[in-house]
C-alpha cells in the first residue's frame, strides 16, 4: 500500500504551511482559517498513526478534535464579529488593547 511516511510528510507540510500562513496574513478571519489547516494536519497524522498501530483510538480522537474545532469555530467567529463591531476593523495589528 501507500507508505505511511508519505502521509506524515504531507501532514508536516500542511502544518508548516498553516504556520507560515498565520504569520503572513493580516486579517483575523484568514488567520483563523490557517489555524483550521493546522488542526487538520494534526488530524491526518492521527489517522495515519491509527492505521499504523492498528487500533481505532486514533480515529476516535480525530472525531473529538473535529467536534471541538466546530465549537471553537462558532465561538471564535462570534468574537471576531464582536471585535469588528467595536473596532470596525479586522486587521489583527489594530487590536492592541493588551499591550504592556
Amino acid at each position: 500500500m501507500i507508505p505511511l511516511s508519505y502521509f506524515l510528510i504531507l501532514s508536516i507540510i500542511l502544518f508548516v504551511l498553516g504556520a507560515i500562513g498565520f504569520f503572513i496574513k493580516r486579517d483575523l478571519i484568514t488567520q483563523f482559517m490557517t489555524v483550521e489547516i493546522m488542526l487538520n494536519a494534526a488530524n491526518l497524522a492521527f489517522i495515519t498513526f491509527a492505521k499504523s498501530a492498528g487500533s481505532l483510538d486514533g480515529q476516535v480522537i480525530v472525531f473529538f478534535i473535529i467536534t471541538v474545532a466546530a465549537a471553537e469555530a462558532a465561538v471564535g467567529l462570534a468574537i471576531i464579529l464582536l471585535v469588528y463591531r467595536q473596532k470596525k476593523t479586522i486587521k489583527s495589528e489594530d487590536i492592541k488593547l493588551m499591550k504592556g
Binding site: A19, F22, F23, Q31, S92, E93, I95, K96, L97, M98, K99, G100
Partner: protein, 633 residues
C-alpha cells in the same frame, strides 16, 4: 520530708506566670499577697527539706531528682534535675528567707509606684531563677539560672527605665556580666569535653578519680572563676555594682547584697573539689578576693551616696568570701555568705527606710542627727553596722574571724594581712556612715525635714527580724577555739565540702588572731568617731592635706573612665564603622539591589507584551520548537 524539695523553685515560677499574664487586672492587695506568699511557701518547704536532711544523716545527704530530660544530643546530656544537699539547702534557705522579708518590705516601699505589679513579677522571677541556680544538679542548668538572675538584675536595675541613668546602669550590668558568662561557658565546654558530663557528682568523681590533669583543672577553674568575678563583682568586673544602685532599694538588698552577687561564691563552693585540686586556682581566688576586699573598701571611704557606700561594702565583703574559698575554707566562705545576707540586706533596707523618711534623699551630707526621728530604723541600722564591723557576739564576727583564721592557718600571710587591713577600713566606713546619718548637726533639706516620718510597720518589721538574725545567726558556727563540736555549720556542710586542709593552730595563736580581729574593728570605729563626732573638722583637714589622694578615691580610681576609653568607646566606634560600611552598603545594598534588579527585568520583559496576537503566537511556536528540540536531543 525531702521528697517535695523540687517544688521550691516552682512555686515562685507559678506566681511569676500568674502575675505576668493576669497581673494588670488583679487588685494590688492580692498581688502583694501572692508574691510574698509564694516566697514564703518556698521558705517553708526549704525548712522542711532541711529538717529532712538533718534527719537523714551523712550517708544520704545528697538527693537528686531528675524532673525532665531536657537536652540529649549524642553524648551531650543536660537534664532539668534538681539536687538537695547541705549546700543547696543552706542557699535555698537564705534566698527564700531573706527574700521573703524583702518582699514584705517592698510592699511598703513600692506602695506608691505605678509599676507595682511589674516589680513583683520580676522579683518572683528572680527568686525562681536564683533557686534554679542553687538547686541545679548539673552545671548547664546552673548556667540557666545564672543567666536568669542576670536578666532579672537587668530588668530590676532598669526598673525605672524612663530615667536614663537607670536604663544605662541596667545595660552596663548585663554587658559586664556577659563578659564573665562567656568565660563561664568556655569552662562548661571544657568540662564537657574532658569529663563528659555536667552533673556535679560526675565532675567530682572524675576529679577524685584523677581523670584530669593539674593544668586542665586550673584552666577550667580559672574560666569558671572569671564568670564568678563578673557575677559577684570582683576586680576587674565590679564596675556594674555601684551603678546598680539606680534600682529600687529592696532590689539592691535582695539581688546585690544577699543573693545574686553571692552566686559566684556558691559556684566556687559547689566546685570545691575542682578548686582544691588545682592549687594555683585557689591562690588566685584568694588573692583576687583579698585585693578586691581592700580596693573596694578604700573606695567606700569617700562616697557620699549612702547606697554606694553599701555597694562598695558588698564588693569588699564578697572579696572576703572568696578569700575563705581560696584558702580552702569553703565552709567559712559560705558561712560569711550566710551571715552577710542578713546584715547586708538589713543595712540596705534600713538605708531605704532612711531614704523613704527623707522623701528620697540619698546624699549623706544632707543628713545628720536623724536618730531621734527614726526610733526603729536607727537601732536596726546600728546593729547591722556593728555586725559587719566584726564586733564580737554578733554574726559578722564569727564568720569574718573564721575566714581570717583559715587564711592565717594556711600560711597565706599576705592575704591575711590584706584581710585585716580591710577590716579596719570596713569598720571605719560603716561607722562614718552611721555618724554622718544619725548623729551630729542636722544638715537636712527643709522640704525633707517637713515630711520626716518613721516608716510603716510593713517596712520596719522586716528590719527588726533581720536585725535579730544578724545577731544570732552566727551562733551556728562557733569558732574552733570553743571546740570543734560547736561548728554546726561547718559540720553540716561536710558531706559536700571536704575538709581538705586540717589546720592545726595552737590555741594560743587562735586566741591571738581573734583578739587582733576585734582590735582592728574597734580601732576602725574609734577613728570614725574621732573624725566625725569628736573633731568634725578632721576630714576637711585631711582632704586639704592630701587632695590628690582624695580625688583618686572619690573618683573610684577613674576605673570607669579607663574602661570607657579602652573598651566601650572603641567598641562603639567600631560598630559605627561597621554600620556605615557593611550594614548600609552591603546589606541594604543587597536588598535594594534585588528590588531594582527585579524592576529592571520587569521592564525588559514588558517589551515582549506587544498586544498583537501574532507575536504571542510566534512565541508559542518558538516555545514548541524549543521543546521539541529538547525532546529530540
Amino acid at each position: 520530708m525531702t521528697e517535695i524539695f523540687w517544688l521550691i523553685p516552682f512555686i515562685p515560677a507559678l506566681s511569676t506566670l500568674i502575675l505576668a499574664v493576669f497581673g494588670q487586672k488583679l487588685p494590688k492587695k492580692y498581688v502583694s499577697f501572692q508574691a510574698c506568699f509564694a516566697v514564703f511557701a518556698s521558705f517553708v518547704i526549704s525548712v522542711i527539706s532541711l529538717i529532712g536532711l538533718l534527719q537523714a544523716g551523712h550517708e544520704h545527704s545528697t538527693i537528686v531528682k531528675n524532673l525532665f530530660s531536657w537536652i540529649h544530643a549524642g553524648s551531650f546530656k543536660a537534664d532539668l534535675s534538681l539536687q538537695l544537699d547541705p549546700l543547696s539547702a543552706v542557699m535555698a534557705l537564705v534566698v527564700t528567707g531573706v527574700g521573703f522579708l524583702i518582699h514584705v518590705y517592698s510592699v511598703g516601699y513600692m506602695a506608691e509606684d505605678k509599676g507595682y505589679t511589674r516589680y513583683f513579677t520580676y522579683m518572683n522571677l528572680f527568686t525562681f531563677a536564683m533557686l534554679v541556680l542553687v538547686m541545679a544538679s548539673n552545671i548547664v542548668l546552673m548556667f540557666v539560672g545564672w543567666e536568669g538572675v542576670g536578666l532579672c538584675s537587668y530588668l530590676l536595675i532598669g526598673f525605672w527605665f524612663e530615667k536614663h541613668s537607670a536604663a544605662n546602669a541596667g545595660k552596663k550590668a548585663f554587658i559586664v556580666n556577659r563578659i564573665g558568662d562567656a568565660a563561664f561557658l568556655l569552662g562548661i565546654f571544657f568540662i564537657f569535653i574532658h569529663i563528659g558530663s555536667g552533673e556535679f557528682r560526675a565532675i567530682n568523681e572524675a576529679i577524685g578519680g584523677g581523670e584530669i590533669t593539674q593544668s586542665l583543672a586550673t584552666l577550667i577553674a580559672i574560666l569558671l572563676f572569671v564568670g564568678a568575678v563578673g557575677k559577684s563583682a570582683q576586680i576587674p568586673l565590679y564596675v556594674w555594682l555601684p551603678d546598680a544602685m539606680e534600682g529600687p532599694t529592696p532590689v539592691s538588698a535582695l539581688i546585690h547584697a544577699a543573693t545574686m552577687v553571692t552566686a559566684g561564691v556558691y559556684m566556687v563552693s559547689r566546685m570545691n573539689i575542682l578548686f582544691t585540686f588545682s592549687i594555683s586556682a585557689g591562690h588566685i581566688v584568694a588573692v583576687v578576693g583579698a585585693v578586691t576586699a581592700v580596693f573596694a573598701a578604700t573606695m567606700a571611704l569617700t562616697q557620699n551616696d549612702i547606697k554606694r557606700v553599701l555597694a562598695y561594702s558588698t564588693i569588699s565583703q564578697i572579696g572576703y568570701m572568696f578569700i575563705g574559698c581560696g584558702v580552702g575554707a569553703y565552709a567559712a566562705g559560705m558561712f560569711h555568705l550566710y551571715t552577710h545576707a542578713f546584715f547586708k540586706s538589713l543595712l540596705f533596707l534600713a538605708a531605704g527606710s532612711v531614704m523613704h523618711a527623707l522623701s528620697g534623699e540619698l546624699n549623706m551630707q544632707k543628713m545628720g542627727g536623724l536618730r531621734k526621728y527614726l526610733p526603729l530604723t536607727y537601732p536596726t541600722f546600728l546593729i547591722g553596722a556593728i555586725a559587719i564591723a566584726g564586733i564580737p557576739f554578733l554574726s559578722g564576727f564569727f564568720s569574718k574571724d573564721a575566714i581570717l583564721t583559715s587564711a592565717f592557718a594556711s600560711g597565706q600571710y599576705f592575704v591575711w594581712g590584706l584581710g585585716i587591713f580591710g577590716a579596719v577600713l570596713t569598720a571605719f566606713y560603716m561607722f562614718r556612715l552611721i555618724f554622718l546619718t544619725f548623729y551630729g548637726k542636722e544638715r537636712l533639706e527643709p522640704e525633707a525635714k517637713k515630711h520626716l516620718h518613721e516608716s510603716p510597720p510593713v517596712m520596719t518589721i522586716p528590719l527588726v527580724l533581720l536585725a535579730f538574725f544578724s545577731v544570732i545567726a552566727g551562733y551556728v558556727g562557733l569558732p574552733v577555739v570553743f571546740g570543734k563540736k560547736l561548728d554546726f555549720f561547718g559540720r553540716f556542710l561536710e558531706p559536700v565540702i571536704e575538709h581538705a586542709h586540717e589546720v592545726h593552730l595552737t590555741l594560743g595563736t587562735e586566741w591571738m588572731l581573734i583578739l587582733i580581729s576585734v582590735a582592728v574593728a574597734v580601732t576602725g570605729i574609734y577613728i570614725a568617731w574621732v573624725f566625725y563626732i569628736k573633731n568634725p573638722q578632721t576630714p576637711h583637714n585631711l582632704v586639704a592635706r592630701f587632695p590628690g589622694l582624695y580625688k583618686l578615691l572619690y573618683n573610684k580610681y577613674y576605673v570607669d573612665e579607663i574602661y570607657n576609653t579602652l573598651f566601650v568607646n572603641s567598641t562603639i566606634k567600631g560598630s559605627e564603622v561597621v554600620y556605615d560600611h557593611f550594614d548600609l552598603k552591603v546589606i541594604d545594598g543587597a536588598v535594594n539591589g534585588s528590588a531594582s534588579a527585579t524592576n529592571f527585568f520587569g521592564k525588559v520583559l514588558s517589551y515582549i507584551q506587544t498586544g498583537l496576537i501574532k507575536d504571542y503566537a510566534l512565541i508559542f511556536l518558538l516555545g514548541a520548537i524549543l521543546l521539541l528540540g529538547y525532546l529530540l536531543f
